[in-house]
């Protein structure tokens, strides 16, 4: 009996931990950009959260060598061509910090983090986008920007629109 109760509690708590899924919409990615300051030589971080389907082309766990290779290649492209997807003000350099695939139930997401270092002030400059040039399946990106005291948001559809960093 005790075992049974223990088993039940365990399974329930395990399940409870896995409940609650994030919204997941193919083609719709989320990007967050943060800069500590906009003057001097700002440092920052950029995070991308995208359905794996939009980047790798599938969402199941890659098991076959072909799938694994495809995944590797997509993630490598993400790392090397991220500067074409998120076009920061001139003088800002992004270096990949983490690029992973998270499996959440039947879906999986690509999570990428980049560190940013800028050589000069970025106040008043703008950020533009080119996601679909690199991954054509990404057609809508919700962009959040934190830059010093500024908090802004932009819905980027088919790479249209720029985000202005406040002066």
């Amino acid at each position: 009996m005790v075992r049974f109760v223990l088993f039940c509690t365990l399974t329930v708590s395990l399940c409870a931990q896995q409940r609650g899924h994030k919204a997941h919409e193919h083609g719709h990615a989320k990007l967050a950009i943060a800069f500590e300051t906009t003057t001097g030589m700002p440092t920052g971080a950029v995070e991308l959260e995208s359905p794996a389907e939009s980047i790798i082309g599938f969402e199941y766990v890659a098991k076959t060598p072909a799938d694994k290779a495809k995944q590797e290649k997509a993630l490598a492209t993400l790392k090397t061509r991220f500067g074409e997807m998120v076009i920061l003000p001139a003088g800002c350099k992004m270096t990949p910090a983490k690029v992973e695939v998270h499996v959440d139930g039947q879906h999986s997401e690509v999570h990428a983090e980049f560190n940013v270092k800028c050589a000069g002030p970025i106040a008043g400059k703008s950020i533009s986008f080119g996601f679909s040039k690199v991954f054509p399946k990404i057609d809508e990106v919700e962009v959040q920007l934190l830059a010093g005291a500024q908090q802004a948001k932009l819905e980027v559809e088919k790479d249209k629109g720029t985000l202005q960093i406040a002066k």
Partner: protein, 423 residues
């Protein structure tokens, strides 16, 4: 250059008409720029209702709803969050400060907010302005209350007055049975006006909220004889178990992103963290239609102003038929006449714009404090915005363009027409 001096002299010659035309353009220009300033001011005031807060955290639900009840005190939370979870995030190494809010009670239509000393220390609005006291101090005792300036003004309270808070947030007086009449609060402080929703609430300690509900069971007031008297309640024996939401400041902006993700995926309690500026921007987009309406009105105003200028130039042309004819007679070609009239009209528009800018500067300088006091709207006294410059340029251009109408008429009025007029 000769033309310019001629245009100037001709305008000066008809000083009254000229001044009236300039005044009418100036007024419409001032109105246009004024509305533009109010528009920018409204947006700025709105966006700066809350500053320096990186995240607002509450129970999982709509982000707009969380913003509305935490910042604007509109609507209610569907769920509270446990004090334990709050403590967890408060002590998180990336967090600089937090301000907890416990909502749900009211006093004569104004919301009562349970909070801590952090509220008076850390809350910022309009970039870096902080809460100040017009009188008294922040609540130090469980049954102390600080009043927002609108509350004190509307209800005529002063320091030391007794305030009974009501259960629930329905407008007007709470149901008598639901009053926490057995545990009145004493006004310990009155806040200075902030022109933000802060002015429209009463502030007590988190323990105060616990204290008024301590003898309640299942959301109902205690039965007669079961009440716990206020004298037996002290801050120490009040255990806060839940709060509604909290504001949070991170030590760094990069940490904000990580913390937001951590809170949103927190396994122990369903919570959500929103970035206030981003949600405010979303909210503004939904209520921003009023902005467009204002803009349409001002465009009509400027059209009327320009039309007035056209009328005045056109009618003055009648008096000037002789002048035109003489100019033609002494050798000015039709091109010169056209240029002269276009220049005059452009000069009028230019002078009107300058007058408008001067007027709006003066008026906003004089009325800024009054508008802020009365409407809670901070209209910045600043050089014209980008849109303002576009308006100015457009009006001068339109002025030049309008000059072509009388110019065309003058061109068609032949030499003979002017000379044959009997004066």
């Amino acid at each position: 250059m000769v033309l310019l001096s001629l245009a100037w002299k001709s305008l000066r010659n008809r000083l009254l008409t000229t001044s009236l035309t300039v005044l009418s353009i100036g007024l419409s220009m001032a109105l246009l720029l004024g509305v533009e300033n109010v528009r920018v001011g409204a947006r700025e005031s709105f966006a700066n209702t809350i500053s320096q807060t990186d995240l607002i955290v509450g129970a999982r639900g709509g982000s707009l709803q969380l913003l509305l009840y935490s910042v604007f005190r509109i609507g209610q939370a569907t769920n509270n969050i446990s004090y334990e979870s709050y403590q967890h995030w408060k002590n998180h190494p990336a967090v600089a400060w937090t301000i907890p809010y416990s909502l749900g009670d009211s006093h004569r239509g104004f919301r009562v907010v349970g909070t801590t000393e952090d509220f008076y220390q850390h809350l910022r609005f309009r970039r870096d302005r902080q809460i100040e006291f017009a009188a008294g101090h922040s609540p130090k005792d469980v049954f102390d209350v600080a009043l927002g300036s609108d509350v004190a003004q509307a209800l005529g309270y002063k320091l030391g007055d007794k305030v009974v808070i009501a259960h629930g947030v329905a407008a007007g007086r709470g149901i008598a049975d639901n009053d926490h009449a057995d545990k009145p609060f004493t006004v310990s402080g009155i806040l200075k006006k902030t022109a933000t929703p802060v002015d429209r609430s009463l502030y007590i300690q988190l323990e105060g909220i616990t204290a008024v509900h301590i003898d309640w069971a299942d959301g109902a007031p205690p039965m007669a004889g079961d009440e716990i008297p206020a004298s037996k309640i002290s801050k120490e024996n009040m255990k806060v178990e839940q709060i509604t939401s909290f504001l949070l400041r991170c030590k760094s902006r990069i940490a904000t992103l990580q913390l937001q993700r951590e809170i949103n995926t927190y396994k122990d309690e369903a919570m959500q963290a929103i970035i206030p500026g981003v949600t405010l921007q979303e909210l503004w987009r939904t209520i921003g239609y009023a902005e467009d309406a204002l803009q349409v009105v001002t465009i009509f105003v400027i059209l009327v102003g320009l039309l007035g200028m056209l009328v005045s130039l056109y009618t003055s042309l009648n008096e000037r038929r002789r002048e035109m004819a003489i100019l033609r007679a002494i050798g000015a070609g039709p091109g010169k006449i056209i240029a002269l009239l276009v220049l005059e009209s452009g000069l009028l528009a230019f002078a009107g714009c300058i007058l408008g800018v001067v007027m709006i500067y003066g008026l906003s300088f004089i009325f800024q404090p009054i508008v802020e006091q009365q409407f809670g709207l901070y209209v910045p006294v600043q050089p014209p915005t980008q849109t303002g410059w576009i308006y100015l340029g457009a009006v001068i251009f339109a002025g030049l363009l309008i000059g072509f109408v009388p110019a065309w008429k003058a061109y068609r009025n032949t030499l003979a027409d002017g000379l044959s007029v009997r004066v």
